[in-house]
Symmetry: C2
Subunit: 582 residues, 2 copies
């Protein structure tokens, strides 16, 4: 057996900021060296950030990634860090002739081993996820190599993210090729309860591969996704050895005792059990095990409970969206209700109350407690506030055009949206919207009104969870930030006299159970009724949800009539820092 | 040799409206029978409409398509049309075990042959386009069959759309298998000059297959795409025989003289030259050639010139967006400038002037000719108009919050956007926006202001083409609909005194040439300079375009934190008529 101290760099790269990410790589590698690590592993596509979407189809971006990789290898050596091997994800390209249906430039979701100033091995993700939030058949061609490097006597194999999730491919040949450790850089977005699935998967693959497995994930918000970290190590029997914290950057260092490698150096070809052949490339970095040393006790960070996970994901999502987009502050309307109260609290936790600006915009239909509850939140949290009554503006519109019913209700929401956007333009704040998933799914919101803004922190949180998160946050140490009355009072949009959400919607606990099954689990009508939902309610809510979806989708760009369309327009990442070199 | 009269049903299905599309199939088949056709061919996925996006991942939708197919076969027979074979695209599923990375339910972009009340053969698209506007790896698994049916002695093979565009697959085995005619249902969206490429491709594939080729394309606007029809037939040497009109529905009937089939009935397996094996299934409908008859002269519809093509695409896009979304009328702001003048004209051509409502919204900065030019257009076209001055509303806002510079300019655009949305809510009109591609690409527009609306007819038309289209339309027979002064005057947003577009942007002919290369051709900085663009201008415009793109993309939904996200939310077609059965 041989010892290795490995450092998993659970980091937060920025899509497009290749120079900044490279700096971060050097800085974290230095810290790993100071901790005495023998190997440091960064996440998937760390150097470019992930997901880089249509940026990977720009040849100048691919070129920039490849150049930065070799420059970073040199720089590590120049700065005295060359003897610490670094595994890092980056963007490369395959040398394939162009053909119809193949992504332009044949990009690779690649991973490299840097050592002694050189790029020692390169490989790329074999299985490309193309479901849910992933579209990787659009972006990448598949890799077909499994690098194994011998480090202080231990054979370390490298695979990428999805290669763990699917059968066959590089991971399936690790057992046959023989390795002491499999390291896997990941860009794996948070979903509720994904941590359990992830551990079970790593344990199973470790047993199949017959070796320990180190899973390193990125952390942080990037555009519409939040990565949760949760890097971990299991031994060859699938037992959990060490686990990094969730939602925090961490240089996660663990001492392992691993079998010495015996395989022959050089290349060999293996059936990958998925119709492809994988080339194993075994290289030598250092043959002799390190001098025996006293290992540190492995760390197993405590798991967060479900509400804490969701709350931390939301805070991190807001913080990184603000930071990565270069905003200094946020602004939102505060109604006294629970949704805006929770969003204000998340924002204050994310960027500090001094950078949160709230606007109270009472109308002729606002109740007294709307103002007093909002003022109470301002008092408790110390956020910046101002009051802008909307009655006179609404009257000015109504003098010019006659509006009734929903049109009149929408006008009020739109005046508020415009005030926030105007203040955003004037002062540079990012507008946060406060709509929750139950409202948005059923269309209980106004286009260009309460839905106008740059980031929607609780867009994917059902109303019943909004209440639970508010109670959870109030139960944390310190003064409860959210006024109790905002939590307990009956929900109302206050766009007409005595309006209540239940005028239009069923009680939220009933609605949310149905939305979970219809929207999230995608059940059809028959399945919903079989799952014990009230048939009449199913009819009503399917109609509402489909209509809302339909109306949201009625607001797209025009028809496509140019040779290449706005392809770039659709999929470029939002918080990219990469530009053509100016 | 044997004669066949084949009817290509260049039709306009509606995504999701399976019942309506099935009715259309029966109606057009009856018309084909009345014309004496021996075979009628409908476009790709005609029965469900195309592109159906994430609807294909709903099992109830797949089920509805399969059921409708067999019911339609029965119904054709019941209505006395059973002896006329029908080739039609529909949605089916493969019988595959679920696995990671495979679309849910393994959907197929399928095509069937209906005859004598039965579904005689089924096959599915082999090559799945996954670039540009297509994401079909997300939606489909590939087919691996090539049906060939003997009809009145002629062997007719069937392939689908993309199978023509890529090498290998079903089309590559036609020559070896032997056929007299290859029919290809398509859903091929319009792009400028695509008609030339399409003809060249069909000619090449016909020569490779050694048989005539009949290409049938759908027509009409569907969500963000416009299909142009342009169905065509080439003979075995690749010569054009007949060609249907562009942008119009047409039952396109052609008499062909084709070799008699000699291949053996039953199944055979063939190497498809792309790593797969295709099963050829040869079935008999009728062995004896038809009695000789006097063929009709084939029709070769005249091609439209480039500007006529674009104009027709825009009109059809608006007409179908309005119709398929169930709107009765449209509304837009008319400024007196060229963009809104062109959009009003397109709208009047699309839905009739009596269903076009224009609003003149002068501000304190509007010039006199803004009003008089707009009024002149109203007079010429007879659209409905009203005047709503915005000065008092803007003042009401400015009494509550202090705004300067761009924030003050944006406010005016937003007041106009809100007025249009309010009138839309009150009266049910669809709001058309009037921004062109040059403005939108460079960010010369206001979020929630002039960009607020349901459909953006000229969003993908560069400003220099806007002028050309206006001149082209004015040159058509009848009174020129667009006031000459709207075409000739200098462009201005009129959001501050004496503002001119050239205060912020280079002349449009210079800008548009650069946008074509940067946005549409995706050239990088070095390529642009090499293509003789002014280096300083390249720097300025890259910055503007990237910033505009970046700002547009700063307005997405929040982070994803639920198990399945809003996957459905992202990709459902807009103008669907399919709902869960209520």
């Amino acid at each position: 057996m041989a010892q290795l101290r490995i450092a998993l760099a659970q980091t937060n790269p920025v899509v497009g900021d290749i120079a900044g990410n490279a700096d971060m790589l050097v800085e974290w590698t230095r810290r790993a060296a100071e901790r005495g690590a023998h190997l440091v592993v960064f996440p998937e596509m760390f150097l470019t950030g992930y997901p880089a979407e249509d940026l990977v189809l720009r040849s100048s971006f691919v070129e920039a990634s490849i150049t930065a990789l070799s420059k970073t290898a040199t720089r590590l050596a120049d700065e005295g860090l060359g003897d610490l091997p670094v595994v890092v994800g980056y963007l490369d390209r395959a040398d394939l002739a162009p053909r119809v249906g193949q992504p332009k430039g044949a990009p690779l979701d690649a991973v490299a081993l840097l050592h002694e100033g050189r790029v020692v091995t390169k490989s790329a993700k074999h299985h490309l996820p193309n479901y849910g939030v992933f579209d990787e058949y659009r972006y990448f061609v598949r890799g077909d190599r499994l690098p194994i490097f011998r480090l202080h006597g231990v054979d370390v194999a490298v695979a990428v993210c999805e290669d763990l999730w699917q059968d066959g491919g590089p991971v399936s040949v690790v057992a046959e090729a023989g390795a002491g450790l499999l390291v896997v850089p990941n860009g794996s977005p948070y979903e509720t309860n994904k941590d359990d699935v992830r551990l079970e998967l790593c344990a199973r693959r470790a047993r199949e591969a017959g070796c320990a497995l180190a899973y390193v994930n990125m952390v942080g918000g990037q555009d519409e996704l939040v990565f949760d970290g949760d890097s971990l190590i299991v031994d060859a029997s699938g037992e959990l050895v060490a686990r990094a914290p969730q939602f925090e950057e961490d240089l996660f260092v663990t001492d392992l005792e691993l079998p010495e490698g015996t395989g022959e150096l050089g290349e060999s070809r293996h059936d990958a059990h998925d119709g492809t052949v994988i080339t194993v490339e075994r290289v030598l970095l250092s043959a002799a095990p390190v001098e025996p040393y006293e290992p540190e006790a492995p760390v197993v960070a405590e798991r967060l409970d479900d509400l804490a996970e969701i709350y931390k994901a939301l805070v991190l999502g807001v913080r990184d969206y603000v930071r990565k987009n270069g905003f200094q502050s946020v602004i939102l309307g505060l109604s006294g209700g629970i949704d805006s109260a929770l969003v204000a609290t998340i924002a204050a936790d994310a960027v500090g109350p001094e950078r949160v600006h709230v606007v109270l915009m009472p109308s002729r239909y606002s109740s007294d407690h709307s103002i007093t509850d909002a003022e109470e939140l301002v008092r408790r949290q110390g956020v910046d506030s101002q009051v802008v009554p909307i009655a006179d503006i609404v009257s000015a519109f109504e003098k010019e055009i006659e509006l009734h019913g929903l049109a009149a209700e929408n006008l009020q929401a739109r005046v508020r949206g415009m005030l926030l956007m105007s203040l955003s333009n004037e002062h540079g704040h990012l507008v946060l919207t406060t709509g929750n998933k139950s409202e948005l799914a059923t269309g209980y919101s106004t286009l260009y009104g309460d839905s106008a803004g740059g980031f929607a922190p609780i867009k994917d949180v059902l109303k019943s969870v909004v209440w639970k998160l508010a109670e959870w946050r109030n139960a944390q140490p310190g003064q409860p930030p959210i006024p109790e009355n905002s939590i307990t009072k009956e929900p109302s949009a206050e766009l007409r006299p005595d309006q209540r959400d239940t005028d239009s919607l069923p009680p939220y606990e009933v609605l949310d159970r149905l939305l979970r099954d219809y929207v999230e689990r995608d059940m059809g009508r028959d399945e919903l009724v079989a799952a014990d939902h009230d048939p009449e309610l199913v009819t009503q809510i399917i109609r509402l949800v489909d209509l809302a979806e339909y109306k949201r989708r009625q607001y797209p760009p025009g028809p496509k009539i140019t040779p290449k369309n706005f392809g770039r327009d659709r999929r470029l990442p939002i918080t990219t820092r990469w530009r053509e070199r100016l």
